[in-house]
Symmetry: C2
Subunit: 168 residues, 2 copies
């Protein structure tokens, strides 16, 4: 109940700060952030779309926007001819690092700092459970027991290069 109000308000605050501080939109920021913590700062379009919970076409559009600004680059996927990799450019990294502090500050100020450490921990647990319950299930009945829906055997070793910033 308050949930709805809080989420809408927070979204507004975030958009407001983000736009004023660096000309980015929240979707833009989410994309940059996701890419920044990806193995080689790059992800397949579909994969990225799934992680961000947006439609394929929506992502195509936003990546186009970010490409115009030089923050992201498209590359052909070596292992899959039809695939496209969205790659965070160096300028994208700089932009994110420049933007992250302000963004984090807003989230802290309006959400995190309102909570006791205990509440924060509970919050994290709640959201994780909720996210898990909804992820790729068509029906409502297979919380954690289902066989792992993992990545198709990605041959490249995942080494999440320690990203400098923490753009959560």
């Amino acid at each position: 109940m308050a949930y709805l109000r809080a989420t809408h308000l927070l979204e507004r605050r975030i958009e407001e700060q983000l736009k004023a501080d660096s000309g980015l939109t929240h979707p833009h920021y989410e994309i940059l952030a996701k890419l920044s913590i990806a193995p080689q700062r790059r992800l397949r379009m579909s994969d990225l779309a799934r992680r961000l919970v947006v439609s394929k076409s929506g992502l195509t559009y936003q990546i186009g926007q970010l490409e115009k600004r030089g923050l992201v680059e498209r590359m052909d996927c070596p292992s899959d001819e039809r695939g496209v990799l969205a790659v965070l450019t160096d300028e994208g990294v700089r932009c994110l690092e420049k933007t992250a502090p302000g963004h984090v500050a807003v989230v802290r100020a309006f959400l995190i700092d309102q909570l006791t450490p205990e509440e924060l921990a509970t919050m994290a647990r709640i959201m994780s459970k909720a996210a898990a319950a909804m992820s790729p299930n068509g029906s409502h009945g297979s919380p954690p027991g289902s066989p792992g829906e993992s990545q198709g055997g990605s041959p490249n070793g995942d080494r999440p290069s320690p990203s400098q910033a923490d753009p959560a």
Copy 2:
């Protein structure tokens, strides 16, 4: 973090169920729900917009849509010539009553039932605090402990109205 994913996923599930079950969108439902708990099932446009945390123009559009479907009606405000009241029609009430159970079921299934009673209570407290922290503050750009701007001033902020149904 998981927060973002959870909120996006939940939004999707809600839209999905709502659209399939009754042809309503989530914004539509939020409007109907808000109106249904208002004093005479009616609210001023501006007031409604503020409560829903949407822009004035966005609300104008959505009310127009709902008016086409006969779920909401516009009336002139008696006490203020320039004002417009959005009034929930009887059909709107029926539609909401018909739709609410399914909607509640989704929210229960994916969010509430995932939590212990204790977590649920904490969740409610968290969201209330967060919403309160963000509510009527006009200024922006004062997240990181800006001193000059304090909460003081308005001794009055809310006029909670009696309600009847709980279709949230």
